[in-house]
């Protein structure tokens, strides 16, 4: 009963706030001259708009440099991420103070010329003593697909549901591959220099 009463109060507060929002905003169909209409609207938006635009830009700049640092540090460039949460707590579980939540994550990005797309699920179970978090499903799609060494550690990571192992292996593999390529290019150049022209 208490939670319901709390919900009633919360709803009433939200309704009061929404009402105020309705009143504050000039309704465009009110009987006012065109100039006055736009003046009101401009006033409302610019007081918040101008200031926050500058704040937004500097905030964005700061976060983008954070992102650039992490990308350089991990060798992994994440471009997109989204998450969905589903509460699986049943009534029986709530009685025993157990909470079960299923998270669905999707992320994609690249590591040099290798692109990846991951979809994984994490099941969180909270009981009185502790919170446990486990990956319950992991799907990895990689591009290029022909590389056998790549597919090998990808399937191992999927099997063990080991996210960290996947990213570490990917980083080291790509670094090693790039190093090999550079070394090969270097020797190719050397050989060309030494080969006499016919």
């Amino acid at each position: 009963m208490d939670t319901e009463l709390a919900e009633v109060r919360a709803l009433q507060a939200e309704i009061a706030a929404l009402r105020r929002a309705c009143e504050d905003q000039p309704a465009p169909w009110e009987e006012k001259s065109g100039v006055q209409k736009s003046f009101q609207a401009i006033q409302q938006f610019s007081s918040e708009g101008w200031k926050s635009s500058k704040d937004l830009k500097s905030q964005l700049g700061h976060l983008e440099s954070e992102l650039s640092f992490l990308s350089t540090l991990t060798g992994i460039n994440i471009r997109n991420y989204s998450k969905q949460t589903e509460d699986l707590t049943g009534t029986e579980m709530t009685e025993k103070s157990i909470r079960k939540v299923l998270q669905r994550h999707r992320l994609s990005g690249n590591c040099h010329m290798v692109t990846f797309q991951l979809e994984f699920q994490i099941l969180e179970i909270q009981n009185k003593e502790r919170l446990s978090s486990a990956v319950t499903d992991l799907n990895i799609i990689m591009e290029p697909t022909e590389c056998s060494e790549l597919s090998e550690f990808v399937s191992r990571a999927e099997e063990r549901k080991d996210l960290f192992m996947f990213f570490r292996s990917l980083h080291f593999f790509v670094e090693w591959f790039e190093y090999r390529k550079r070394t090969f290019e270097h020797f190719k150049e050397e050989i060309q220099i030494e080969t006499p022209e016919f």
């Binding site: 009633v8 929404l18 635009s53 540090l73 991990t74 994440i78």
Partner: protein
Amino acid sequence: MEQTNPLRPDGESKGGVLAHLERLETQMSKSCKQSEEPQSVQAQEGALGTKIHKLRRLRDELRAAVRHRQASVKASIANVEPTLAVEMSEQEVLEEKLENVKAVLQAYRFTGLSGKLTSRGVCVCISTAFEGTLLDSYFVDLVIQKPLQIHHHSVPVFIPLEEIAAKYLQTNIQHFLFSLCEYLNAYSGRKYQADRLQSDFAALLTGPLQRNPLCNLLSFTYKLDPGGQSFPFCARLLYKDLTATLPTDVTVTYQGVEPLSTSWEEQRASHETLFCTKPLHQVFASFARKGEKLDMSLVS
């Protein structure tokens, strides 16, 4: 709430939405008065449920009304002040970008390494996991100056942080962090296996599990058939490689007076191999499964 005369022609649509909301509200206050009369608890709970339902509807309608107004105002501005409309949508683009960047930053913890820039430098967060299970996180707060310094951290004292820092911190931050990651993940994994053994397979242990803080030296006695007559096996697991989650040295001994029969000796030897090749709690899980089959074979 403004009083609208529903007969005013230009106030028609306003009268529409707001009047509708007013009607909902009147309905609400009526049911409020009703629930104020003394009623049984069940009737009160039922009335509450209905009230919540009505309040939710009213709230959803108001939300839609606010959104509708916002959209209309924007549209009218676009007609009158096109540049302002462009600037506003620039703001929306910025906001969207910001949301995306924030989300991607959150996602970095799934790579095992994430962090935040600080006024002094950077605070790196190392996440640990053992196979699919996510475990504790640790942080290292670095001050960017010459020489690079660790301002503070949450790394346990028995992890050789100073050693790793001495080797790599000044020349290669990435290597320093990757190495620290290895040690922390391995420690987390060993700790997890020992915890699982204690919590899930206590029935097969005949004494307390002995372990050191680094969880790289474990000692325990166990029996495959807890109720049975045989003497327990005593296992000692040493993990010399601190970046590994499997032991390097395993000895399984028999605590009885009489020498072991051939089949038991085979068992003992196979257990040594098992502990070297599979995670501790998974070995015990297979013991628990074989337990029933083992009983059958002893009887026959």
